[in-house]
Every structure is written in structure tokens, then in C-alpha cells.
């Protein structure tokens, strides 16, 4: 299966490398625009190319007659591998830029070479988007310097967040190639430099600043920063014991929320100044002591279910 995936990926990469748009300069595209007439030869080429891509995706699934949903999953898997390569290149460039920053001040060619590595990886992901029907003229892979200088872990987190949201919104039962390719194309674009930049801009635009008052007596000026809770996930480590299992079966018997029990537990948590929702509370090892306390409290307040 792995060999099949690698072989198919290589084939798709080869096809991606043939995309005509890579030969077209930005200036030419800007002059010509997207065009308003259909070129029959161009459509024939496009159709033939789509058929080749579909053949490779079918091979990637490892099935003789995959469903369109399985083709979509294969396309997403292929896209993930291209995206990982792109973000991996961003990591290398970021690391090398930091390591060689002094040398680069005098030698511009090294910088250009590093940018070339990243642009090459970006070209692959962009060409993949074209393979699945993305309009050539609408892709810009130039990428501003922010993508090279920003912490790659933040970029990875941003892209993974978008991909996760996309996958959770994806419904099954696609019925034809057009639908399947449209889904894959949309998914690939989440990793394009232009999309990432747009999402960084969106995050910046929606940032909420918080300010703390200064202290005139001590000469401390007011401080303003971005509210961390809006850009940073709270990281918890999973754990479970007999107490957490008791509480879960009390607040979510049979996997369904029991409103009264849930509210009772939440009220106890508020009293203890525990500010996370009930679900994360019941899963985080940080609250192991509190699980036992909560069970004791609820038992004392007449909850035979917890005995």
C-alpha cells in the first residue's frame, strides 16, 4: 500500500510538473487576463489530464472500483503529502535564515537559493491544485517574506486547523468526478501560500487587544497585547481513572448529556474556580485531585449513581 502510494504520488507530481501555467509569467497573465472564450484544444487537453489524474487516484486507493468518496480521500492524502513537503521547506528556510543571518547580509545569492527551495515546494502544491481544475490564472505562489520569516509551527498549526475544519465539514456520497475534483481542489488550496497569507491577515484583523493599566507611582506604562486565549489553544494531557469514569457516566450516561447532573457538576466546578468546560475537565490529568473531590461532594449530596 505504501509503495502504491509513493508510486502514485510520483506520477501525480510528474503530471503536476507538466501544468502549463508554470511557464506563464505573471506579467503575461496580468496582460491577458483569464479570458472569456473557450478554446476547444485547451478543453481537450484539460479533459485528458483529468482522466490521467483520476487513474492515478484510483491506483492510490488500492481498490479496483473505488467510490467517489474514496477518490476524494486519496486526493486529500496526496494533498497532505504535498502540503507537508511545502511546510517542511518553510521550516528549513526559516532555520537556515536564522543560522546564516550574518552571512546573508553580504551574500544575497544564498537567500535567493533558500527562497528557491520554498518556491519550488510551493510550485508543486500549486500545480497540484491546477491538476484538479483550479484556475491557473488565480494562483499566486510568490509568497511574501512573512511566510519565510514567521514561525513555521504557527503556519503548520494554521493550515492544519483549516484542513481539520474542512474534513469535519466534508459530507459523504459524492456522485461524480466533477464533485470529487472540486472537493480535492478546494482542499489543496488551503495550503497555497496565497491562502495562508489571507488567513494570517484575517487572524490579524480579528485580533482583540487587551490592555493592562500602568502604575504612575512606579513609572509603569500601560501594556497592550493580543489576547492569548484567542490565538492559543489550551493544551491538556489526557488521563482517566475510576473517578473520572464515574463522573462521565454521571453527567453523560450512555454517551448523552444528562442536563441536571451536568449542571450540578458545573456548579461545583464554578465554586472551585475551575474555568474549563465540563468535557475537558473530565479528560485532563491536571484535575485528577478534583475528580475525586467532585465524586465525594456529589455522593454527600445524595447521588446513589456515584456509589
Amino acid at each position: 500500500m505504501l509503495n502504491k502510494f509513493i508510486a502514485s504520488s510520483v506520477c501525480l507530481v510528474t503530471l503536476a510538473g507538466c501544468a502549463s501555467w508554470t511557464d506563464e509569467t505573471d506579467a503575461t497573465l496580468a496582460q491577458k487576463g483569464a479570458g472569456t472564450t473557450f478554446n476547444p484544444d485547451s478543453i481537450k487537453t484539460y479533459t485528458a489530464n483529468q482522466a490521467k489524474v483520476l487513474t492515478e487516484l484510483n491506483a492510490l486507493t488500492g481498490l479496483t472500483t473505488p467510490s467517489w468518496d474514496q477518490v476524494i480521500q486519496a486526493g486529500i492524502q496526496y494533498s497532505d503529502s504535498r502540503c507537508d513537503a511545502y511546510i517542511g521547506a518553510l521550516y528549513r528556510v526559516n532555520k537556515d535564515l536564522k543560522a546564516d543571518v550574518q552571512k546573508l547580509n553580504s551574500v544575497g545569492t544564498a537567500t535567493a537559493a533558500l527562497m528557491g527551495i520554498t518556491k519550488s515546494a510551493a510550485t508543486e502544491i500549486a500545480a497540484a491544485a491546477v491538476l484538479f481544475g483550479y484556475a491557473e490564472e488565480s494562483i499566486n505562489i510568490s509568497g511574501s517574506r512573512i511566510l519565510f520569516e514567521m514561525d513555521p509551527a504557527s503556519i503548520r498549526s494554521l493550515v492544519k486547523g483549516s484542513q481539520t475544519a474542512f474534513k469535519s465539514a466534508l459530507e459523504p456520497n459524492y456522485q461524480d468526478r466533477t464533485g470529487a475534483f472540486t472537493v480535492i481542489r478546494e482542499y489543496i488550496t488551503l495550503c497555497l501560500p496565497s491562502t495562508i497569507e489571507a488567513e494570517i491577515n484575517n487572524a490579524a484583523k480579528n485580533a482583540v487587544q487587551i490592555a493592562s493599566s500602568g502604575n504612575p507611582a512606579k513609572g509603569v506604562a500601560p501594556a497592550v497585547s493580543i489576547n492569548e486565549s484567542q490565538v492559543k489553544a489550551k493544551v491538556l494531557t489526557y488521563d482517566a481513572d475510576v473517578y473520572s469514569l464515574l463522573l462521565k457516566s454521571y453527567a453523560f450516561p450512555g454517551g448523552t448529556k444528562e442536563v441536571t447532573a451536568h449542571a450540578q457538576l458545573k456548579t461545583w466546578m464554578v465554586g472551585k474556580n475551575i474555568k474549563v468546560p465540563v468535557g475537558p475537565f473530565l479528560m485532563s490529568q491536571s484535575y485528577k485531585e478534583q475528580w475525586r473531590e467532585a465524586v465525594d461532594y456529589l455522593r454527600k449530596n445524595g447521588n446513589p449513581k456515584l456509589d
Partner: protein, 66 residues
């Protein structure tokens, strides 16, 4: 469906200031579905999982503050 996926992505960014995100790491595969269901029942707006390099899973749950 694609529109809804895009909208969800855009909304998750747009509404970030109104949400809190929790990452629960090192969840064993055997517990994964049960925990994700509890988080959904608990009122999380979106719940997803990713596999870690060590074979365990990270669950990401986004709760609305509004």
C-alpha cells in the same frame, strides 16, 4: 458542501475571539470516539482529532464563549 466547508473555516477564524480551543493530547485510540462524543455532548462547536507520531491522538475541541 464545499461552501459549507469554506464557511466553517472562515467562521472558525472570524469567530476566534469568541471561542476557546482545547487540545487534549495523548488520547488512546480505544478511548477516542467516546471522548469526542462527550465533548460534542458538552457543547463544543467543533471536535476533531489528529494522530500523533507516537500513535496516540490529539482531540481539538472549540467552545464558543458567547
Amino acid at each position: 458542501m464545499i461552501t459549507s466547508a469554506k464557511t466553517e473555516t472562515q467562521n472558525s477564524i472570524k469567530d476566534n475571539k469568541m471561542s476557546e480551543t482545547y487540545e487534549i493530547r495523548d488520547v488512546p485510540e480505544s478511548d477516542l470516539e467516546t471522548q469526542m462524543n462527550i465533548l460534542r455532548q458538552d457543547g463544543a462547536e467543533s471536535v476533531s482529532s489528529t494522530k500523533q507520531e507516537n500513535g496516540m491522538f490529539t482531540i481539538t475541541a472549540v467552545y464558543s464563549n458567547s
